[in-house]
Symmetry: C2
Subunit: 330 residues, 2 copies
Amino acid sequence: MSHLRQNIITKDWVIFATERAKRPHEFARPVEDLRSPIPAYKSNCPFCKGNENPSEIEYLRLEDERGWRVRIIPNKYPALSPLGDLVRCNEGIHRSITGVGYHEVLIENPHHNATIALMDIRDIGDIFQAYRQRYKIICQDKRIESIIIFKNHGESAGTSLEHPHSQITATPVVPSQIRQRLFDAANYFDDTGECLFCRNFADELKAKERIVLETEYFVTFIPYAALSPFHMWVFPRCHSSCFGEISDLEIADLAFALKTVLAKLFYGLNNPAYNFTIRSMPTDSGHANYFHWYLAIVPRVSQAAGFELGSGMYINTAMPEDSAKFLREL
Amino acid sequence: MSHLRQNIITKDWVIFATERAKRPHEFARPVEDLRSPIPAYKSNCPFCKGNENPSEIEYLRLEDERGWRVRIIPNKYPALSPLGDLVRCNEGIHRSITGVGYHEVLIENPHHNATIALMDIRDIGDIFQAYRQRYKIICQDKRIESIIIFKNHGESAGTSLEHPHSQITATPVVPSQIRQRLFDAANYFDDTGECLFCRNFADELKAKERIVLETEYFVTFIPYAALSPFHMWVFPRCHSSCFGEISDLEIADLAFALKTVLAKLFYGLNNPAYNFTIRSMPTDSGHANYFHWYLAIVPRVSQAAGFELGSGMYINTAMPEDSAKFLREL
């Protein structure tokens, strides 16, 4: 019989449908989907080294003697813009705000064929150094309420550009989903005096069965009520509510942890499409004892349809314990 | 400049990115995606008339002198089952429940190539008659907290079977998303003494610019903060919190309204994939003055990626007023 589990942090209920369960390797991308090798340089790729647009704004550049290593530039089709005034309009039941914010692209590597799963640890560290620098600068803009850093890898994860890149967005509102989670986490703290997130990963460390990787500063595990197969959370061991507070030592360790788990997906499931996102405290809330930032990875091995749309619930056809064992042993 | 709007019913903030806006017809499915005509019968389709499995349970059958018109059967790979006990287990911060519930398939028509956009109104009415009958029966099961009826049309909307069908699911929990919306709607009622949903569509009728179709008992419009292009809500004009209360007259009118708007999508956007879902009061709440059932249609003309995953917000590249005008005039 199937069963339901609740994710205590997101409050989402997930149905674990064992009747249609697959074995972990069955989620691998079919071999016929694997494309021919990607070249290190493409002449028509705007992100490749040598193709930079000299008139383009550059928000950040990390470089060494061989040239740039990571760049942050404006998104060509920005959903939000830092120019203009923040104007809020309430008319009857309608609420609107001008699209003030940030929408930037972080080019992760000069090489077209680089991918985090196979990159040097140092290069991955550069990506997180750049995220942190830009995060701290955007935080100072008082109009910004929330910063969302994310990556889309592969077409079915929503990217149209092959060159490795991620995006930094900053919105003038706290998204309602995040507001609700903050509220629930604060309630838990008020009730118990502990951070729900710290409690959650301490429990996972004791139970062991959903752990994928333990490193010095991070714990990677599949949540008890994972939304989908191989859905992973990378948690900093030290309590911190804001990604901007990450230390250099933590960045080096996170680079290693992320490379390791993404390499497990790359080799174990034939380089599946995935999204990752950094979930951090909204910028206006400062340090909080009740909230804990983390990085979530969602491989695109299953598809949300009408049930998910109509209920906000998910059906997962893989047990988190089996998926974690598969990834742990790879 | 882009702007953000809040959907007052779901509380979701949506970014309207006018910089990357497309004209309505640009969302049409490419013609090369259109498959060769689908046959009226396929020998290997388990849902085609003549291929019924005689040993299969049948929960409901509507028929006339020519045979069955609509059937409801168990899902072959059910996520939930009515057999077994409802057992709840709370262990530390973990919550789980046995997978008690319903997961059924409604075969919408004997013919393999039927599609609601082109079906007879009477045949569509039969589908809703069958939904209502089954909804009322499942409601009586005291273990059930929520019933979700939905349809996946087309591969990118998550269906693997071509034969027209929809699904009825019933869960032993109220999904957290639905619970939150009920709570917000009840708060609005307590504040104002009015149903937020009634107020919303009364405002839409006055504004006119987002209306797609008005019929005797229903109003179809694109929400002020639509999640995606052509996201539509079909609202009953008479206040009712529960889909099970729909009358025969309303069913006949809904069949006409749904056919009309789906035909607009079919002809205007080359038969795009879509999901629809009926959003109704959870079964344990009975009649409520503050909640209003409705049918939501989400054509799959855009893709959710890391931003949506990380924030719960959406980016919409079409203005609801433009999409509604396009559909209204088709």
